[in-house]
Amino acid sequence: MIEVHAISKRFGQVRALESASFSCADGKITGLLGPNGAGKSTALRILYTVIRADSGSATIDGLDVHKDSLRVRERIGVLSDGAGLYPNLSARENVAYFGRLHGLSGRELDARIDQLVELLDITGFADRRAKGFSHGQRTKVALARALVHRPPNLLLDEPSNGLDVMATRSLRDLLRRVRAMGVCVLFSSHVMQEVAALCDEIVIIDNGHVAASGTPDGLRAASGKDSLEDAFVSVLGSGEGLA
């Protein structure tokens, strides 16, 4: 459960977020949709506690992301933009490192990694060093890393960026499965089709503001348009920046 209340953030002269509020429920996939530079990544980075909001507040499972950041971090899994792995460690070791820093160890950790290796179809390269991994392979390992401690909340920044069709499909399957386990999934994207195909709730961000939010049907009804695409365009004023 993620709740965001009127958060703002500036970087120098740039206003990245301007009093943005939204929430994401457990067992639902929420999509943060907006053009490049709209403030999606900034919102996610505040939620996964690496940067601080200038004003406003955000809670995850009732815990303040700033005041209680260590406990928040126990309850989130994060796939950041770029999915950086350690090139000298194998896929399995990359996942194990994060598992250990979450306090897992021994047989419990090994079993969990085996499970994720199978779930994410990593078997073929699980014991290879990450140095030569393709983008898709890296994303899979980074996802396994984010899920290793069974987080009740999953935050993903542009997870399908650079993935091919098959990889994107298996990512969607995975997110649906995670949702079925009752996890609160929040992901950002600038790809409308992807959000439309996957999300229960959509939050449209533009220029640091939340321009609209609701279910796909709700958004269509509110804008009086038949297709989701037309609804987005009417909300944003133009189709600029959306793919």
Partner: protein
């Protein structure tokens, strides 16, 4: 807390160990380069000490029979006379080719001109570009000058003039340098080589675990884990310090092996760079590992990229030379106050140990503690730098 610290530490140790190229440069290049270069420099210094004493100077002489007295004088002045039967042209070629360092050519007319009291011409063939021959040529020239001076004085006396008339000024040179004093600069180099190889040992990990991690994009996910940034950075610094200590141990081992091949006592140093001295230097240098690791981590955390970190840290490699250079140029004597200065205090103590002087135990303690305290302060600074938001770039 300590368990997570151990997890970070172990991962950084393993990660760096698997990077063969950086491991080679850290654990081979640093520890070998210093001691070997040091030994070569000492050998050169020894060569100079020996040659300026009473070694024979080889000189090829053409036409020795034309000036037997002169040749006898040279021989008595420690010249190794090698008579030769070639012409001047061939002699030139031999010197140019480096076959002979110096050739003295005495023409047939020498005796005749000498007897007539006219300046008797000699030819001294040498190659001023050949620095190895420089010392020999200088000494032959001095011998010839001394001979000429003596003959000149005798001729004046024969004419009833005091030779003192021709010496308006007498210069009496006093050189107070001792072999031990000359070795100060060399010992300074030794301390620096130890420090250099330590910094080299930790350099790659310091960059990789900070700027490298950020550039790869693995830092941001790492910061989303339920581990405080202080634990992460301390784990990285400790791993870096561990590599530095390994490099230190290797360097001292190589020094111990190499220095058995060099007669140090000729330079006024103790020749037994044995396990005892090595162990003392090892303990003395331990806190420097923390200091260096924390310093490199602080500097690297300011930089935007791997390349930039490398550039700045190359400068850091030079910083410890400054106090040593200062000490060498001003012939600083060890004092309690100077033991507070890292790198300088280690230098002074190592110099003392190498010269087999008694180093007060208080010096060792002050050096150890002050370096450790500065290392801890810099670790604190690194933790603070890691709390900054701009860390992520």
């Amino acid at each position: 807390m300590t368990r997570r610290l151990a997890v970070v530490f172990r991962k950084e140790i393993l990660d760096n160990f698997r990077d063969r190229r950086s491991l080679t440069s850290a654990m081979l290049f640093g520890p070998l380069f210093g001691p070997v270069l040091f030994a070569v420099m000492i050998s050169f210094a020894l060569d100079r000490v020996v040659s300026s004493e009473d070694a024979l100077v080889r000189v090829a002489v053409i036409g020795a029979e034309h000036a037997p007295n002169l040749v006898e004088h040279l021989r008595r002045s420690n010249a190794d006379i090698v008579p030769m039967d070639v012409d001047l042209e061939q002699a030139r070629k031999m010197v140019a080719a480096g076959l002979e360092d110096v050739v003295l050519f005495i023409p047939v007319t020498f005796g005749e001109e000498f007897a007539a009291g006219r300046p008797a011409v000699l030819q001294l063939v040498s190659d001023s570009a050949n620095s190895a021959a420089e010392e020999g040529v200088r000494r032959i020239r001095l011998m010839l000058g001394a001979y000429a001076g003596r003959i000149g004085s005798m001729r004046l006396q024969a004419r009833g003039v005091s030779p003192a008339v021709t010496i308006p000024i007498a210069i009496d040179e006093v050189d107070v340098s001792t072999p031990a004093g000359r070795s100060v600069l060399l010992l300074g180099m030794m301390t620096y080589f130890i420090i250099f190889s330590m910094l080299m040992g930790g350099l790659y990990l310091a960059i990789d675990s900070t700027a490298g991690e950020r550039e790869r994009g693995s830092l941001e996910p790492l910061l989303t884990l339920p581990v405080s940034r202080a634990v992460l950075i301390v784990g990285k610094i400790l791993a870096t310090a561990t590599y530095m200590i390994t490099a230190l141990a290797l360097t001292l081992f190589v020094f111990a092996v190499v220095l058995t091949q060099v007669p140090l006592e000729d330079l006024g140093m103790t020749s037994n760079f044995g396990p005892g001295t090595a162990l003392r230097i090892f303990i003395l240098m331990l806190p420097f590992a923390l200091l260096g690791a924390a310093l490199m981590t602080c500097v690297a955390s300011f930089t935007r990229s791997y390349k930039e970190a490398q550039t700045y840290l190359t400068v850091v490699l030079l910083v410890p030379t400054l106090p040593i250079l200062f000490a060498a140029l001003n012939t600083v004597r060890p004092s309690t106050a100077l033991m507070l200065v890292p790198s300088l205090s280690q230098h002074l103590v190592i110099t003392g140990l190498m010269k087999a002087e008694t180093v007060p135990i208080s010096y060792l303690l002050i050096s150890f503690i002050s370096t450790l305290v500065l290392g801890l302060l810099l670790t604190g600074l690194a933790i603070r730098l890691y709390q900054r938001e701009s860390l992520l770039g």
